[in-house]
């Protein structure tokens, strides 16, 4: 059957709400409004205000409350409307959620899940279009999932709920309306393993999230291009990457985030550290231009890697 990324997220949330009485959702406008991106439409009616908590504009506050509730035995699923607003809650996430288990020598568990919409491409300009997932993957103590397919969107919450640690899930706004053929039941593929989405023998393209479909489109039918979907940014499954490079000897990282000090840099550094002697050429990176994303469509398109940019880069690296 056909399912959209939005429907997949919806299904994941409903399953969680129905299977685990400790689960509740909290965030701005997830209830009466129906979710900014309509992911939680009708949830308030179905599950009631204890399970679907419309929060005031208080990102730090409700993230902190969810954190405490997680310690106290509930399984909160926070929605932060847009990745940029997560900056208001970073103290709670980084200075508290990420450290409690380690600092308490294992006494405290923080099974806190935070979903947020990430990415550019909708002309929302500089304060609503960032891709902070790779940047946040710097922080030890949290895990980061970036579903890039409908199937993964369907099961990310399932796996996040199995963790007893903070998990951030980044849902790309441009994927919401994408649909894929899926089975009756979710496949439940361990999200902490990278997957070869398309195999090839001369260039490994490493990507995730919103850039995945673009990379697959750019790769087309070429037998030369292998496309790897990281799926999880922390932990990073480098084995799959290193194995691929043993075959291709070349790698390109495509990351929607800014380039400097990003996940793309980490991936590149790890490849050098582990696969230096396998490489026939330096690893390259294709990232967002290092500027705030502009509103105008032609400028936004120039700022964020598109299919053409990826195609050109692949061509360049293969010739």
């Amino acid at each position: 059957m056909k399912m959209t990324y939005r429907e997949a997220l919806k299904e994941g949330l409903k399953t969680a709400l129905e299977n685990d009485p400790r689960v509740f959702l909290i965030g701005e406008d997830i209830g009466a409004y129906g979710g900014t991106y309509a992911v939680t439409k009708d949830f308030l009616k179905i599950y009631g205000p204890e399970k679907i908590m419309d929060a005031p504009l208080s990102e730090a506050g409700f993230t902190g409350i969810a954190l405490g509730a997680a310690i106290g035995g509930l399984r909160p699923v926070v929605e932060i409307m847009t990745v940029n607003f997560s900056l208001l809650a970073l103290d709670q996430i980084i200075n508290s959620a990420a450290i409690y288990r380690h600092m308490s020598a294992g006494q405290i568990s923080v099974p806190l899940i935070i979903r947020m919409t990430t990415g550019g491409g909708r002309q929302l300009a500089a304060q609503h279009s960032n891709s902070f997932e790779g940047w946040l993957a710097h922080i030890p103590g949290i895990k980061i999932l970036t579903p890039g397919t409908v199937e993964d969107a369907r099961s990310s919450l399932h796996f996040a709920l199995k963790e007893n640690d903070p998990v951030l899930i980044f849902e790309h706004a441009l994927l919401l309306n994408r649909s894929e053929e899926v089975g009756e039941k979710p496949l439940l593929l361990n999200p902490f393993k990278a997957l070869v989405r398309k195999s090839g023998d001369a260039l490994t393209v490493i990507t995730y999230g919103g850039m995945l479909p673009k990379c697959l489109e750019a790769a087309g039918e070429s037998e030369k291009v292998e496309v790897i979907d990281l799926r999880s940014l922390r932990p990073l499954d480098d084995e799959t990457i290193f194995n691929s490079i043993k075959k291709t000897h070349r790698a390109l990282i495509v990351d929607e985030g800014w380039r400097s000090g990003s996940l793309s840099a980490e991936m590149s550094a790890r490849i050098m550290e582990n696969s230096f002697y396998d490489l026939d050429a330096p690893v390259e990176r294709l990232c967002r231009k290092e500027i705030p994303v502009p509103y105008a469509r032609h400028l936004e398109e120039a700022a964020i890697p598109g299919v053409e940019d990826i195609k050109n880069k692949i061509q360049e690296m293969l010739s």
Binding site: E28, A32, A126, Q127, H128, I291
Partner: protein
Amino acid sequence: MERSEQVRLLHNMMRVRRMEELCAELYTQEKIRGFLHLYSGEEAVVTGVMSLLKPRDNVMATYRDHAHALLKGVSARVILAEMYGKAEGCCQGRGGSMHLISEKDRFYGGNAIVAAGIPQAVGLALASKRLHEDRHTVCFFGEGAMAEGVFHEAMNMASLWKIPILFCCENNFYAMGTALDRSQAQTNLLKKAEAHNVETASADGMSVLDVLEKTNQALNFVKDKGQPFFLECKTYRFRSHSMFDPDLYRKKVEINKWKERDPIESFKKYLMDEHLIIQSDVLHLEKKVEDEMQDAMEFAERGTLAPVEELEKNLYENDL
């Protein structure tokens, strides 16, 4: 108040309304993209407040900022051009609807992070105070923004350090789909300002004259005492939160009740009842407004696209 001043108030409210309705049309035509937040229904607030401000005064607004930009002196032309994403826009198409900025008009935006502009406006007012500049600073925000911690932080410091600023809360009773009483335990907003020892008043945000009068008192207080003032204006938005919003959370009766108090219609009626204007005056104003907006739209249509080569310009003063 002079008749001409009263007519100017009506005219400005009509300009705001017409520009917003035009934006809505242009949005459905996909000439304007991204998020678009319209101000229809709330015109009395911005018009009443702005009528007392001069070009030298500072204004900070939110993402619902077209009206504020227009009445602060930014031309409808550059506002529309900005929303078209054209190089002739006030931000050369980089900001769009939510980020109208015009430094020469001392209009500082246009901030799409709810409440982030509040401390920044306090900072602008602090600078004016320290530099002994003769200007007011007015900061607009919605009642939803008052749940953000930084609102309280900014109020406390403005009060503590006696910073002359007018906080103008546009209380339209909803923050996106969340009603005030579903998101704030204390719905008497004045209490929140009082928690920081800030002087307060509440105005009928559907009456331009009431807003004007309360603003006048407030600005006098700010100037005389050199202290902040918190003015709540109770109002309502006639449209959904943004053009994305299906508006599932408000009852028709509620919307209609407020629409009966349409700030433009009621002020028009008042002026007619007082024999200050007649129907032909209204038609004349409508024509003027229409001409202004048509001209603006044509300007935006004619506009050019900023060259992609300049994409990375202006990240720093001296490009690296």
